[in-house]
Symmetry: C3
Subunit: 358 residues, 3 copies
């Protein structure tokens, strides 16, 4: 099986190293533990009840407390970095991310990727690489799958050439493609645990929820998180190297921004059971230590979940903002007849969750 | 059971929202794990032997290593914040805190509170709320109970009105009310583990112990601790919001100050088995990142523990100080005929421990 | 058994307190958990596969994932500090460190030391203390043993007197003295996990590997690590005390520097199964928060391991550097006919690992 994979050199892969169909088995397999789950809470402040309470999770049919979906995503994503994005200029976007099966402390995660698209830029100094990545548990069953695309440096100036192959990127994960775990919803127990009564019926399409809490990031918390995920991208860790870049300092890993914003968004979304999909997302501006994150949520859509009378789906837009409270903040601003994002927007995430119908 | 509780809105409760007898079932139940225990050591430097050593704990009749009492207290306290003190001006004091049963990794904690007192201030802009809070394990048995009182903003200017109801606050927990766990004391094993021979007989009422070690706090360690406890009070996390307050920056959560001071007080109190009670306590001044904590202990009282020839009780006063070593430090200073606390005092805690009689 | 040990006073031992043959049973025994292992990854970024993956470790004959050898070393070392180096001027060196048996989450570590050498300096204000320290698991079996020597203050000025007794310090651990655990090497599984194919046969004596990654240290990560190891040396924690020293600020614990450098050295040494020995090592210059660590590895020797056709030994030199990338960096510089270390060198570690022969 090893033979199918060409190993990535220590300096990482450049645009020229990617070819449609090339596959990667990413290092390092990781047994996720209760220690990782504790650190996730300490790093983000996550308060969603199911990953916190073993008895609640078991009462709802999980075999143990499920890992927070943000922890799972970041652990899986971290594995892909050394092969895919060690030489990335920017992480451009995510699509078609689906959670396929709950993961619990004690499970071991591995990850694989396949190149599904390539698009050189006009200069040829870099190009966009599209990969489909998936994470598997110790039984070989997929637990998470996603597409991301990254702008990657060419090894040689002008070396990024060739025909553009751009994969089909679904605008959203269709409800029929969502994988709802076989759980038993105990609304009363969940509401007792979450401290709030809002359920699927209480949300309206178009509704906006301004989350009041803010979280200031410091150098150690984002570097601890990124090391925990074994994401070795130098831009997050090497302040000396970053001092000579336009940023001037270490960049906060975008996955940590997602996790912190989701934790801030607990108030108003208390009974969300978990993520089913990320329809799309992008990191609009860099985040640095010292920035305070705020966020708001827009309800983009609500729909039934196939075969479930007890659960509904909500499609949500989570907008993360730096140094500007959410109340009254407009993400898009019109300027000279054009609509552009406010430069304070750091995250724009379109995702789907399941929540009891009440 | 849900029906008995009125949910707290996202903005938290104000003075007007509290009424004598109102009960709260706090979110989020939490299965405490070995990961939380590791983080507690990393955050505080705690070295008390029993929570560290599974074989020692089992040799002394615990069913597993007990969680550090500071971790338990902070986990339980953290749950009460969103309902009780989200809009607190200040946390005024604690009384009648009792540890009722050891808690171990794998146990799940929930917490409830009841309003037992209300006292509007003369301006009516805020008032004191007294609550009795208790934490329970997964079997529904209480493991910790305490009274605290908090100065809480009124929702409306002058809205804090009504008759004052001030509960009876015991000056200390009576020895007969202390709950000593059914453990078997192995003095030799404990002394081998702690590295010190001092036992109950070696302490004298009035004795003062200056703990030599100091601990400088940084932004990440106090915010990690406070997030670990899922205490979401904004004053600890939102530097941007705090910049416009008189403090100018994030406040360190008082429970973290208690935990750090107790860890510093290990030297001199090495064979303390655990806390039985907090008789009273107050946070005298704010602590900020950059402050170095020091502390000293005074032996206020020593007494037999009901039914135990092998264990004695010590009532201790732990005084936490910022930026001034403990040796020679006087907590109370006389100024113009009046006694007041030195402004470097950040913590004044009166608590009771059990320790082998030797 | 307690009676054999004289307890260390709270202020620690001074040179006069050490005598050849004096033994210490160090506090505090510690059950190492999955929480500690998670924190170790978050603090260092370690990616060596065996401690990360339960299935891989079990496929290779371990009874569970082994703890990272750096975590084990630091946990064991931390215990010795209060008795041996609380009053150290400097930690001068290590020799004859041998890993004797794998340690797993759930095992409980204790440590003992014996004074094996004493050498007063000419001023008599301090002297060198040589100790042999060993860590044991809960079955009383030794898992790690090492010699270190420390420059320790005299209690009284000029108090460090007496005959010099300097133990024999082996230049290296002989291959015949290495303890190779009874594991089954599965090269294909290891290579799949590590993402690299380099094995014993691919390394050459004299080869140098410049590790490209750098890691900037912050105050919280080094203090979290040092507290996790329950190493209470004041120089790492008390910024106020350190402000009045020539350093002006907290010193980073040398064991954390070793751990971070080993994690940076993953790239290029991916299939190393674990450390067998540290032949020698020294901390050449202090490290502070804000420094960025880089490192390179030199292959000093390669040899067969007794009785193992499947594993080979590599003797490696790991040089840690602050604020200067590894590529092209020379550790030793000639100046006026003399060779001295570049002041950017913070660590010079000579250690032996096992790696599949391929």
């Amino acid at each position: 099986m090893t033979e199918r994979y060409v190993h990535t050199p220590p300096e990482g892969n450049f645009f020229e190293d990617f070819a449609i169909g090339r596959q990667f088995l990413h290092p390092t397999p990781r047994t996720i533990t209760e220690g990782d789950a504790s650190l996730y809470i300490a790093l983000t402040g996550a308060r969603q009840p199911l990953p916190c309470s073993q008895p609640l999770a078991m009462a709802m049919g999980y075999r143990a407390a499920p890992l927070d979906d943000g922890l799972l995503f970041n652990m899986a994503f971290g594995k892909t970095v050394s092969d895919i994005s060690a030489n990335a200029v920017a992480n451009l976007g995510y699509a078609d991310l689906r959670f396929l099966e709950p993961v619990h402390a004690g499970d071991t995660l591995t990850a694989r990727s396949e190149v599904i698209g390539l698009r050189p830029t006009s200069s040829g100094d870099n190009g966009v690489v599209y990969v489909r990545s998936s994470a598997f548990n110790q039984h070989g069953r997929p637990v998470l799958t996603w597409i991301r695309w990254v702008l990657v440096h060419a090894r040689a100036r002008g070396g990024a050439v060739g025909e553009a192959v751009v994969p089909d990127l679904p605008e959203r994960v269709e409800p029929a493609d969502l994988r709802v775990p076989a759980i038993t919803v105990d609304v009363a127990a969940l509401v007792r645990a979450s401290g709030a009564a809002r359920l699927w019926d209480d949300y309206a399409i178009g509704q906006r929820i301004d989350h009041a809490a803010g979280m200031t990031l410091d150098e150690t918390d984002h570097t601890l998180a990124t090391r925990l995920y074994q994401n070795g991208a130098k831009v997050h860790f090497d302040a000396q190297m970053m001092a000579s870049t336009p940023h001037g300092r270490r960049l906060v890993y975008g996955g940590h921004v997602i996790s912190v914003c989701r934790a801030l968004a607990f108030e108003g979304l208390e009974n969300v059971i978990g993520m089913l999909a990320i329809n799309g997302g992008s990191h609009r501006a860099p985040t640095f230590a010292g920035d305070t994150l705020y966020c708001f949520t827009e309800v983009l859509d609500k729909f039934a979940l196939p075969g479930r009378a007890d659960l509904g789906g909500l499609r949500l837009r989570l907008v993360g903002i730096k140094n500007r409270p959410a109340a009254g903040f407009l993400a898009e601003v019109e300027e000279g007849g054009k609509v552009r994002f406010d430069p304070a927007v750091v995250l724009d995430l379109d995702y789907t969750v399941m929540i009891p119908r009440g």
